[in-house]
Symmetry: C2
Amino acid sequence: MGRTSDAREKILKAAQSLIELRGYSALGVAEICKAAGVPKGSFYYFFETKELLALAVIDEHWAVQRVAWERIMRSDAQPLQRLRQLFEETEAGQRAGRKSCGTVSGCLFGNLSLELSNQTEPIRERLQQIFDRQVEMVDQVISEAQQQGDVAVVDSHEAARSVVAQLEGQVLFAKLYNNPQRLETLWSNCLALLDARVRPATADAH
Amino acid sequence: MGRTSDAREKILKAAQSLIELRGYSALGVAEICKAAGVPKGSFYYFFETKELLALAVIDEHWAVQRVAWERIMRSDAQPLQRLRQLFEETEAGQRAGRKSCGTVSGCLFGNLSLELSNQTEPIRERLQQIFDRQVEMVDQVISEAQQQGDVAVVDSHEAARSVVAQLEGQVLFAKLYNNPQRLETLWSNCLALLDARVRPATADAH
């Protein structure tokens, strides 16, 4: 059984790279199997449909990203500095991606939201759950910042949605212009959106 | 010749609807021709490749949207009120789209940026030009607002990019959650990003 579970991993890994590079609709099962180096029969043994594969790719990617987000968002750093850390790691991730494959691949969840949310309800629901969770994590940090008097914004949930929307919007431009530097403004954008008491000049020392 | 130019229009219209609903990669030429009610030969008479069709769809959509943006951004209204008008019309457009086809289709340019910018350079370049133009228009309005002392933000170009990124990010969520109401926060987001002197309470009367 060691070998079959290996095949599932290979399919998932190949599918994730291909989806990041070229989206979901453009891919065929044969191509995924070729990139994974597994026979087509294996694919249908593990994934009944291509949609189920996409859901597994999403879950796998979120399992990894959630751990990173939780590490950052629950650290001992000051609340706003945790958000800053999140932006810096996001930018570093996009830089690393461009270095390894030549192009900024953007956010897998954002990419699939725009490509697929109108087409498959299970994928839409899964992506909604992920973004809900991201917003919830950012909301908790903003609430802490509110309690400390670091930010003047009143509705922490709506503010969290706006911060995540800003992140997705800037990642879209980083991808379109193939330029991860676009993400450098996220920190000052975030301070502005939260009406932070600490503005960039003093907040720069972290 | 009246009939052939009619066929081109029909192909473009069908392609735009289909791309808005299902993206570019998922579509085949046969399906576009069927929806347009034109023979496949007509397609290749007007468009040598599917990529050239996508470019024509982008140009056609921008030709219409640019007129709307210019009308709003060059009106006699106060600069910040012009931005507000832009957000309100964007929200109204997404509401109308949902009413007519059941789902928020989002921004065609944002959708194609995430789906295709890594795959075809001509489409990436065209989309960059369009977003550059949008940012330039927003930049001009922000500069006017700066001159009047309405906003405290210093770098009008970077601020314009952030406002357009916020717009794209919130449109992404409006599409994912099939909820145009998500766009209601754009106005207060924009005031925050621009560090506007006039805040929502007073700015509400427009």
